[in-house]
């Protein structure tokens, strides 16, 4: 009986380990290529440790590819501002829907839920025409403003604020804080775990978005990293050393965020899974 348990355990570990290898290999292979000179990559071979270790690929993409630093800046700028706006606006909306009484509240809530179900492709073409009319094509606001609220996270924040202790707000009111003071100085700081989970997902969706910047940004200097990387790939199709270095620079911020906020991540996910 005991040895049978051990065999079962061994088998489970074998499954887990082989899948972990399958998951990791593409990343390690890409990371390794980012430190190899081009001739070593083109010569083939399956060596994970570079024979001739070099930082040149990274140096080149930052110094000689004039647009790469710009794409990195565009991505960071759009993702950071977009996330900040989402955190404030989604929370305000969630709070109002959870706590305040006003006419039309139910209709609004149902509308927000219904909007969750509409695929983005439907709004893609009209939004292009609207942004064109506003003169916002090829601009940061064209990418940020349409995405500055998110129905999923308004819903999530509403659920959070419904369970939020009322006594805290009442105490703040007694101390003389108004509605806005209470919200920004007392309620928001106490909502940090929910905000952290939201921040990660919103940041990632801005950071990884390919379609919106592809449609909105016509000038190469306004590309964000995903579109830039794609353009880079078609221009420098054989320079896999540069493409892999650029891919690694692109992945690093998300990786850092993931490692730091791992626990919020899983909480945020199970939030969604519970629905």
């Amino acid at each position: 009986m005991k040895s049978q348990m051990n065999i079962a355990k061994l088998l489970l570990y074998a499954i887990l380990t082989s899948y972990a290898i399958v998951t990791l290999i593409p990343f390690i292979w890409a990371l390794s290529a980012s430190f190899k000179p081009l001739n070593e990559i083109l010569a083939g071979g399956l060596n994970f440790i570079p024979q001739e270790f070099t930082f040149n690929n990274y140096i080149t993409i930052f110094t000689e590819q004039a647009l790469f630093p710009r794409w990195l800046f565009n991505s960071v700028f759009v993702a950071v501002i977009g996330t900040a706006l989402n955190l404030v606006f989604n929370s305000m909306a969630g709070y109002a829907l959870a706590r305040l009484t006003f006419p039309g509240k139910k209709t609004l809530f149902i509308t927000i839920l219904a909007v969750l179900m509409i695929p983005a492709q439907v709004t893609m073409i009209p939004n292009f025409l609207i942004l064109k009319e506003l003169g916002w094509l090829n601009s940061y606001q064209g990418l940020i403003i349409p995405g500055m609220v998110n129905a999923t996270f308004i819903f999530m924040m509403r659920q959070f604020f419904v369970n939020f202790p009322r006594e805290v707000e009442e105490a703040a009111a007694i101390d003389g804080l108004g509605r806005f003071g209470t919200f920004f100085r007392i309620v928001m700081p106490m909502a940090k775990p929910a905000l952290a989970a939201q921040a990660i997902f919103v940041f990632m969706s801005f950071w990884n978005n390919f379609m919106a910047p592809l449609i909105i940004m016509t000038d190469a200097s306004m590309y964000t990293l995903p579109v830039g990387l794609n353009a880079f790939q078609s221009d420098y199709a054989t320079y896999w050393n540069y493409i892999m270095a650029a891919s690694m620079v692109f992945t690093l911020p998300v990786l850092v965020i993931y490692i730091f906020f791992n626990r919020f991540f899983l909480r945020g996910l199970s939030f969604r899974g519970d629905k």
Binding site: K9, Y13, L16, Y19, V22, T23, P26, W29, A30, G44, L46, F89, M92, A93, Y95, A96, L100, T101, F102, P103, L108, T111, I112, V115, M117, I118, P119, Q121, V122, T123, M124, I125, P126, F128, L129, I130, P146, V149, I154, F180, M204, W207, F210, M211, I215, P226, L229, N230, Q233, I243, M244, S247, T251, V254, L255, Y258, L266, L269, S270, G273
Partner: protein, 300 residues
């Protein structure tokens, strides 16, 4: 109908409610609800983008045109094939991985962190890495050739290109659903497994008769999310084919076709909008049917 009188504090609270919601209402109106209505209008028009944008009403022409549009039919066939293969495979893989991870082994957290990496990584980066590994003399063919298996022209063979994208996406998405399954697995009370033990069930029987039925609601969620996601396949087929949907239309998806008509041609935007509306109807219908089925067989 009696006119309701509001007290001063009620009025103030209502005002505050609208102030709190004003950014949301504004964005919803301008960039979501407005565009949805606009899209329905566009679907029945011919849009001319050169010079001044003009709209001509054409009735159902855009919709009848779909029937004779060979590329639309190819895109639909590719997308349907993609959905039918990817959704079940990624869901089953996610369930098996989650069940394995939940067996109470050491290092569970470590594996979970590793598995989740592809889900975090941008589709653009994943496509770059895979396009490079898929080269004729690349990593994957070297491995396959090394152990005596057949090699393929992963990106340029019309029979294989879509399958290459499937492999990559299953690899990237299954762990996302695994995490959702994992959360649900941890909520299943041990007593149910102990009862099955008393009945003499082995591990496979317990998985099949206890775990799988209890996870049905989560499976429903994973299938809906999977269908919605796979129907919208765009980034990967765009990047793999340089925007063309090639080789030989083999990676052309519905969304890529919508993109091509809307942004690569100057007078096809109305037709593109009608395709987008049709796609949305298909996705909504799939979601509703799935929900209905799920309600009918709810175990609780």
């Amino acid at each position: 109908m009696a006119k309701r009188k509001y007290t001063k504090s009620q009025l103030r609270e209502a005002g505050q409610g609208y102030v709190f919601l004003s950014p949301t209402i504004l964005t919803l109106l301008v960039f979501l609800i407005g565009p949805i209505i606009f899209a329905l209008f566009l679907a029945f028009t011919r849009v001319q983008l050169l010079g001044d944008t003009s709209f001509t009403f054409v009735g159902f022409d855009n919709f009848t045109r779909m029937v004779d549009d060979t590329r639309a039919l190819i895109a639909l066939r590719n997308t349907a094939f993609y959905v039918v293969v990817v959704v079940p495979v990624q869901t089953i893989l996610a369930l098996v991985l989650a069940a394995t991870l939940n067996a109470g082994l050491k290092g569970e957290k470590f594996f979970r962190i590793i598995y989740f990496l592809p889900t975090l990584t941008s589709s653009a980066v994943l496509v770059m890495i895979f396009m490079w590994m898929y080269r004729p003399d690349g990593f994957i063919n070297s491995i396959l050739g090394g152990v005596g298996l057949p090699t393929y022209n992963w990106i340029n063979d019309p029979n294989i290109a879509l399958i290459s994208i499937m492999i990559m996406n299953i690899w990237a998405t299954a762990p996302f659903f695994m995490v959702i399954y994992l959360a649900a697995l941890q909520d299943i009370p041990d007593s149910l497994y102990e009862a099955a033990d008393l009945d003499g069930a082995n591990a496979v029987q317990k998985f099949w008769h206890v775990t799988v039925p209890l996870l049905r609601p989560v499976t429903g969620f994973a299938v809906i999310m999977g269908i919605i996601g796979t129907f919208q396949l765009f980034d990967q087929s765009y990047m793999f084919s340089g925007g063309s949907g090639g080789p030989d239309n083999s990676t052309l998806t519905v969304v890529l076709l919508i993109y091509q008509y809307a942004f690569a041609a100057y007078d096809q935007m109305g037709y593109a909008a009608s395709l987008a509306v049709a796609l949305a109807i298909v996705i909504l219908a799939a979601t509703l049917i799935q929900r209905k089925l799920q309600k009918d067989e709810e175990v609780y």
